[in-house]
Symmetry: C2
Subunit: 191 residues, 2 copies
Amino acid sequence: MENLINKIKERLHLSSEAEAFLYSISNEKELVKGDVVIRPGQVVKKTYFVISGCLRSYCIDTNGKEHTLLFAIKDWWISDYMAIHSEDISTLTIECLTDSKVIEFNAKELDEIHTRFPEFESYQRQNLERHVVNLQMRILNQLQLSAAERYDLFLEKYSDIEKQIRNFHVASFLGITQESLSRIRVERAKK
Amino acid sequence: MENLINKIKERLHLSSEAEAFLYSISNEKELVKGDVVIRPGQVVKKTYFVISGCLRSYCIDTNGKEHTLLFAIKDWWISDYMAIHSEDISTLTIECLTDSKVIEFNAKELDEIHTRFPEFESYQRQNLERHVVNLQMRILNQLQLSAAERYDLFLEKYSDIEKQIRNFHVASFLGITQESLSRIRVERAKK
DNA sequence: TAGTTTTCTTATCATAGGTCAATTTTTAAC
DNA sequence: GTTAAAAATTGACCTATGATAAGAAAACTA
């Protein structure tokens, strides 16, 4: 929980009341590799802040293939925001790739922080702006880069966790098969 | 300007002061097809709200090919948010696809609305949340759907403007060549 | 409306990446 | 450590989409 508090304090003066509120609605959890915290078809109530370890969110298409939306590591949030926002059931699975420590929040309770402590509005708005920019860049990369170029970018951006993530998960994030990724890795190694 | 005011009023009580502020920083413009409002390499200061017509934002890759990030029609906002946020020069071009009417804002001035009229914080946060959800869905679609399926989805989602948009622009939005799109259209017509 | 330009289509060929199946390597479980 | 399971690699082949070029059809322009 310290992690989240400190992260917030980097950009926002956090009143002791707000801090107490966060503590009151938070729920620290230790997860082990393979744990699934959100399953498709389920009503999504929770959102997770990662303290350590790595989680990923993915969907399964009509052919049973997995497509990774996000890897979340230290200091990232993860949930099925599409489901939360549409108040519909989840289309994503969120699973633990390594033993992890997370803080679980009820998304609605957490949302209340904005009305109770309006200073969070601006903080959260800025987080979302940054998130939008990241997603736009990912879309443009997907449109204009080859699989090998996207892999290079992935290695740069996720250099700290790349080694912990299985290649077939990376492939499903890049939008290629694990066989293709394997070939790309061979080519890369030659240089 | 009425359009924007009405759109805001659907979800927010708009004080007359806030309305006056919006008027004071807005600048209605009539654009003609082909007009370019943002060019790559330029410092981005403006953001646009579309009243009528259609604009698009796109980047040009190292091979000179265009990739469309967004088509903006009535009631949508468009700018290079990546540049605004990073305070860097633009990587996008924003051009007018049809004669259009837009409201131009200085992005920084518009941003002030959040400090002057804090009720906008929550409004804007919700807009951004929705935007994030849309972008996430686009990424998942790009990962899991074939070009033909993405085209079908495009036709659904943009049914109102589809006819005004050149096919090669649609192709650049879907991440395929215009020749591929042409073939997809032929196949579709057969059914 | 004739002429020009832009866009769309069509055909042929090329290629990145997918599929399937077999094998090796790594990781996990006992 | 040994064994079993999971993941990664490799090879042969396939397919969706890209590249290029040329002609047809639309869309502007004068």
